[in-house]
């Protein structure tokens, strides 16, 4: 078995040295310091600045980690690239357990030798180093945040079970911000940049084993160790869903290929094969990674593809039916028993067929009766519920009913609700209670299909 980097000291440090810490506004070292103070990190913070041994933001400062003379779990390095290897050497000597190098100016701008030097020092001391050229990590439970982005620039995160790893800091911070804005619950965030020491294999392995992580969302541009990546992927996708998106899809294959096969099987195609073969949930658009993560983080696995559609609006029921069919799922045929029960319970205006349109005056009672029948019907594997809050019958009691079923049912359920402020309010109410809600019928159906595909992979072998 290959050994993978242990990221625990980085994700759960009891003490943190911030190298490059400063009082000066607008400096990265200041933002990182401020963020540590803002998130209420409960461990020790040691500001390190080569030209300051007074105090920084009220904390005693040191010129070097070697002067601290206390145990340091994590060092965050935010100084000009050329000084990083020697400072890393000091971290090694001071028995620091993990390092995040946020500094840029390494291989990404052609300074390959400088990055090799960083790597050599890290290996010499067996130091897990994240970066360089990265945002680093955020972990709300252990209250760490190495991001050099001022807190007012990102929405406030919620604790949850989705972990997000990104090679790119830009994709990392943008998606993270959207996650926060839309109320996704975050377990860990890791932006690992140039991946010169800790790479995607280590990150995937760590998150696969991490108990707080239920769903992994991964943005990669490439993989450095193909064989090890597959080894870890096999394990990871058997434990939890891994939603992945790879940048650089348009790179063409070998130009002057000798065989048809080599001309077809280009770089992205190989990744696509790996994603399919080893149980990844691959996305081609950034919005999809969150659409998939949303359902995978709170709905039960399901290998059947017979979908019942329940709607309080005719037209959206029709569009939802199209979306379900486009995503490769099938419309469920209700059992005779279900039809009889529904005929007794529903008012005469309700036509007992699929999609089941329970009409615009449907209230929580009617929604509840219909959901109970669909929940029990052996011909139904999964539920798509269109809940339009513009209708006369729909209010917060309908949302509560949907929450009840989506969080207790053994069948996965997605809700389609589109609209303005009143709808947004109920969407937030449902989502924060663990209901995956989508404005677009296509997004809802594709997310459900992704869940079913993943469930089928888990069932194999």
């Amino acid at each position: 078995m290959t050994e993978y980097a242990n990221l625990d000291p980085i994700m759960h440090p009891k003490s943190v040295a911030i190298i490059g810490a400063t009082d000066k506004p607008d400096k990265i070292g200041r933002v990182i310091m401020q963020n540590y103070l803002d998130v209420g990190f409960s461990g020790k913070i040691f500001p390190i600045n080569v030209s300051n041994s007074g105090t920084i933001l009220g904390l005693k400062a040191y010129k070097s980690v070697l002067d601290v003379k206390q145990s340091i779990d994590l060092a965050v390095i935010a100084i000009p690239a050329e000084f990083v290897p020697s400072v890393l050497e000091e971290c090694g000597k001071a028995h620091v357990k993990g390092v995040v190098v946020v500094s840029a100016g390494f291989a990404e701008v052609g300074n390959v030798d400088l990055e090799k030097e960083l790597e050599r020092v890290a290996r010499k001391y067996s130091l897990p180093v994240i970066g360089p050229n990265c945002l680093g990590v955020m972990d709300l439970r252990s209250r760490i945040n190495t991001l050099f982005l001022p807190t007012y620039k990102l929405d406030k995160p919620k604790i949850g079970n989705i972990s997000f790893a990104s090679q790119s800091g830009a994709v990392g911070s943008a998606v993270l911000d959207v996650m926060m804005h839309e109320g996704f619950g975050l377990a860990r965030f890791i932006s690992y940049g140039n991946a010169s020491v800790v790479d995607e294999v280590d990150v995937l392995n760590y998150l696969a084993c991490d108990k707080e992580t239920k769903v992994i969302v991964f943005y990669i541009e490439g993989v450095k160790r193909g064989k090890e990546f597959i080894e870890v992927a096999r394990k990871a996708t058997k434990i939890k869903p891994v939603v992945i998106i790879k940048g650089g899809r348009s790179e063409t294959g070998m130009k002057a290929a000798h065989s048809h096969t080599a001309a077809l099987a280009g770089n992205y195609e190989a990744y696509d094969a790996v994603f399919r073969q080893f149980g990844f949930t691959a996305a081609k658009d950034l919005k999809d990674i969150l659409n998939y993560a949303k359902i995978l983080s709170n709905q039960p696995l399901c290998t059947g593809s017979r979908v019942a559609i329940l709607t309080n609006g005719g037209g959206l029921g029709v569009i939802a039916t199209d979306a379900v069919s486009d995503s490769g799922l099938t419309l469920a045929q209700l059992s005779k028993e279900s039809e009889e029960t529904l005929r007794k319970q529903m008012p005469p205006i309700v036509n007992i067929c699929m999609p089941l349109d329970i009409a615009g005056d449907a209230d929580d009672k009617r929604f509840g009766d219909a959901l109970a029948v669909l929940e029990d019907d052996p011909n139904v594997d999964a539920l798509v519920v269109v809940a339009l809050f513009q209708t006369p019958g729909a209010d917060s009691r309908v949302a509560s009913k949907l929450i009840h079923y989506a969080t207790t049912s053994k069948k996965p359920m997605v809700v389609i609700s589109m609209g303005g402020n009143f709808t947004e309010l109920h969407k937030e109410m449902m989502e924060s209670s663990g209901v995956p809600v989508y404005a677009s019928p296509n997004d809802a159906a594709n997310a459900l299909a992704a869940l079913i595909n993943y469930s089928r992979y888990r069932q194999m072998e």
């Binding site: 490439g222 993989v223 193909g226 064989k227 597959i230 290929a257 000798h258 065989s259 048809h260 096969t261 080599a262 001309a263 077809l264 099987a265 770089n267 195609e269 190989a270 696509d272 094969a273 790996v274 399919r276 073969q277 194999m460």
Partner: protein
């Protein structure tokens, strides 16, 4: 890239239980006529200098009379003068059927990868293919076949699906066990409940 000699490649392919159409090198018009023995045949120029035979007019198809065989032989021989050294391969003509491609490529990151797709002249047009890392087992083979839009064309029933799945497993073994870097079995003609690989390219660095 080194291309394995056709007849040698054919022996290797056959030793994995993969069917290929009857072929041998012919050295003269008379020899080609003798090989045909009243069947329709195909003549192909084989040379390291030109790997894309069809697009350079180095294949003569459906030669169903002695006259056609002789005329085509002479024409190919003339074209091949710029491609010395060359050989002329004669094959029995396989009629009808659907063309499939099975191939292999070596990815710098992930290693050996097997391909299946709609073959022949449609490979580049429709780009309908599926890839899996080797070794390709039964389940992988089934899922790659089902990934194809042309799945029902290539495998219209359970029996033909079984045949292709088993063929993919054999091709995966062939590709991984012989130090090859690239493989093209294209086209493989699916006909009459069976198949024949009618062109083989085994390449190594």
């Amino acid at each position: 890239m080194r291309l394995m000699d056709y007849v040698q490649a054919q022996k290797l392919v056959n030793s994995y239980g993969i069917r290929s159409v009857g072929s041998r090198y012919v050295t003269s018009e008379d020899d080609a006529v003798a090989f045909a023995s009243d069947d329709a045949i195909v003549l192909k120029v084989i040379s390291d200098k030109q790997l894309h035979k069809a697009s350079h007019g180095l294949i003569a198809l459906n030669l169903d009379s002695e006259d056609k065989i002789r005329a085509s032989y002479r024409a190919l021989e003339k074209k091949a003068q710029q491609l010395l050294p060359y050989k002329i391969l004669a094959q029995k003509m396989v009629r009808g059927g659907i063309e499939m491609i099975i191939g292999g490529n070596t990815d710098p990151q992930f290693g050996k990868i097997l391909l299946v797709g709609l073959g022949g002249i449609y490979v580049e047009t429709f780009r309908d293919f599926a890839l899996r890392l080797c070794p390709v087992g039964k389940k992988d083979a089934q899922s790659m076949l089902h990934q194809l839009r042309s799945c029902k064309m290539l495998a219209p029933d359970g029996k033909s699906e079984e045949m292709i799945v088993s063929l993919l497993e054999k091709a995966s073994k062939l590709f991984t066990e012989n130090g090859m870097d690239e493989l093209d079995l294209n086209p493989i003609i699916l006909h009459d409940g069976t198949y024949d690989a009618v062109d083989l390219r085994l390449l190594s660095k």
